[in-house]
């Protein structure tokens, strides 16, 4: 379809205006608002003990959730792409649930299992373990929301490459582990990496599910996103902007990683 110049220009203007009003200008403005009172104030506000603790907790939770889900993702992706087993369609559908379910419902679901009146609440309380309003609850919520990313990135790659090379390696006498390490893993590495980046972004940014289970105890169960909300509610706008700018910066770095990896993948560097 060869659209004439006039049409092409007006479509371009409409598209860019929409993106500008919705995306570019607001995100640009948040950086402007953050730094309009100078860098020192921003630095001060993201290095308060509460902010540093929130940052550490966010990192900690991410470092627990992402490796576990990566391991799960690779194993599940191989089972989905290579295996034939009963219930595959059902499991395949269930994996998408964390994408579709509201984060608030996810938070509530954890409260109903691990909370004081939940299914395991009594047993956990007797054992002296607190999950809800504590760090384990935040970890569980984060694992829940970031569960599908690696599976969903790796499965199509496995299907695409087929199993010819794996068969060949096996024929030549390679063991299962060797085949995986030397053939499968190198082929899926960009898919895995992409999934990991998406998971990290989601773990750092999760708000709804975490806000239900955290209890928001300052210096204990506040993550970075909860800190933004808390500062905003306490009319500490500058503080909220500073923490937001930090999160937005992390998002931009994530985006850069995504773009670079996409290019690598498209260049067929597998």
């Amino acid at each position: 379809m060869t659209v004439d110049r006039r049409w092409q220009l007006s479509l371009r203007v409409v598209a860019l205006a929409y993106l500008g009003a919705l995306l570019f200008v607001p995100v640009g403005l948040i950086f402007y608002r953050t730094f309009e009172h100078g860098l020192a104030a921003v630095w001060e506000s993201i290095t308060t003990p509460a902010a540093i603790h929130a940052f550490q907790l966010t990192l900690e939770v991410t470092l627990i959730a992402v490796p576990l889900n990566t391991l799960f993702g690779i194993v599940m992706a191989i089972a989905l792409a290579r295996g034939r087993w009963r219930g595959k369609g059902l499991i395949n559908a269930f994996i998408d649930l964390p994408f579709a379910v509201s984060p608030i419902v996810i938070g509530l679901s954890l409260v109903l299992v691990y909370g004081v009146h939940g299914w395991f609440g009594g047993a956990l309380a007797n054992a002296g373990i607190q999950v809800i309003f504590s760090v384990p609850g935040i970890v569980l919520a984060t694992i829940f929301v970031s569960l599908p990313f690696v599976v969903r990135e790796v499965t199509p790659v496995l299907k695409e490459i087929g199993d010819d090379q794996e068969q060949a390696a096996a024929t030549l006498g390679a063991g299962a582990w060797t085949t995986f390490r030397r053939i499968t893993l190198p082929a899926i590495r960009w898919g895995v990496a992409y999934g990991v980046v998406l998971s990290v972004a989601r773990c750092i940014g999760e708000f709804g599910a975490v806000s239900v289970v955290s209890g928001k105890i300052s210096g204990e169960t506040d993550t970075l996103t909860l800190l933004v909300d808390k500062r905003f509610s306490n009319f500490d706008l500058a503080g909220a902007y500073a923490a937001s700018a930090l999160l937005a910066l992390i998002a931009l770095v994530t985006l850069l990683a995504m773009t670079t990896m996409n290019r690598r993948r498209e260049e067929g560097d597998t």
């Binding site: 379809m1 060869t2 049409w7 479509l11 409409v14 993106l19 995306l23 200008v25 995100v27 403005l29 576990l68 799960f72 194993v75 191989i78 089972a79 290579r82 295996g83 499991i91 559908a93 269930f94 579709a100 509201s102 984060p103 608030i104 419902v105 509530l108 679901s109 409260v111 299992v113 939940g118 299914w119 569980l140 694992i143 829940f144 569960l147 496995l158 199993d163 794996e166 068969q167 299962a176 085949t179 995986f180 053939i183 972004a201 940014g205 708000f207 709804g208 933004v228 909300d229 905003f232 902007y241 937001s244 999160l247 937005a248 998002a251 931009l252 985006l255 850069l256 995504m258 773009t259």
Partner: protein, 290 residues
């Protein structure tokens, strides 16, 4: 019938290289290496992390009996929140259908300086934490708006927040299809004297429909459950700007877990229905795929 038409052309396409007895072929080594044990552990993980908690929601929603469930779901505030959630999510999906397709078209077929930069930034709403998204929009469209547009605490604000977080879905699902699309058919139509509008309607659009619809369904599902970006900008006014997820959050905070579970169950059913619809669309798209 649908199953054969689904697998028919695909297996025929790959049949040339594959050995005749496809079913007799041994399982791939990568699969044998994890095998049943790996699958068992992975399934257990999925069950403990996702399925067990979600079933707790459904079970707890019936704690007070069916009557209490019904009362919680049909209370005036719950119904009003649910109605607004569904309507504003539908509006979000619809605007995404038009805006997303338009942006995808511009990003694929148009050429302008900075296109790669714009293309990379499309994913920002996925990477940006939702609470930051809410704050970002409140900064531009709130009381201290530098452009003089104050829509904070209105239904329009909720729509804008949802449009922000769902922006990439339609674009990212339409873009690859548009790239793959052969321009030969369009050129043929052009040479036969078809006008642009006709070419778009008769040739481009039919090829894009499955991708547009599945992107819109994803956007709808995301909009129905969205919380973080809405909570600051909506003002959470009952009967006006309160969406279901925020309503559930209030129920949890006011210690009414059974009612919260009941409304959540309805939201879960909506998510499940959308997931099923997307799978159906995927099959349909695959069948139309040549």
């Amino acid at each position: 019938m649908s199953a054969t038409s689904l697998t028919g052309p695909r297996s025929a396409a790959s049949g040339g290289s594959a050995p005749a007895g496809g079913a007799a072929r041994r399982a791939a080594p990568a699969w044998r290496s994890t095998g049943a044990l790996g699958l068992g552990v992975a399934t257990l993980w999925l069950s403990v992390i996702v399925l067990l908690p979600l079933s707790a929601v459904v079970v707890h929603s019936l704690d007070g009996g069916l009557g209490a469930f019904w009362d919680a779901v049909t209370s005036r505030q719950a119904l009003s929140a649910l109605r607004f959630t569904v309507l504003v999510s539908l509006a979000t999906a619809l605007i995404n259908v038009i805006g997303g397709t338009l942006i995808a078209w511009v990003l694929v077929r148009d050429r302008f300086p900075g296109k790669r930069f714009v293309n990379a930034l499309i994913d920002l709403p996925f990477a940006l934490p939702t609470i930051v998204a809410g704050l970002v929009l409140l900064t531009l469209y709130g009381q201290r708006s530098p452009v003089g547009i104050d829509i904070a605490f209105t239904q329009a604000a909720v729509l804008v927040a949802l449009l922000f977080v769902t922006l990439p879905f339609v674009i990212r699902s339409v873009q690859p299809v548009l790239i793959e699309l052969d321009t030969e058919m369009e050129e043929a139509a052009l040479s036969l004297g078809a006008r642009n509008a006709t070419i778009f309607r008769r040739i481009v659009l039919p090829n894009l429909v499955p991708a547009i619809l599945s992107g819109a369904a994803l956007a709808f599902a995301r909009a129905v459950g969205e919380f973080g970006s809405i909570v600051l900008i909506s003002g959470n006014i009952p009967f006006k700007t309160q969406v279901s997820s925020v309503y559930v959050f209030n129920l949890i905070e006011s210690d009414a877990p059974t009612s919260a579970a009941a409304v959540s169950t309805v939201l879960l059913l909506v998510s499940l229905a959308v997931l099923l619809a997307i799978r159906g669309l995927g099959r349909w798209g695959a069948r139309h795929d040549r």
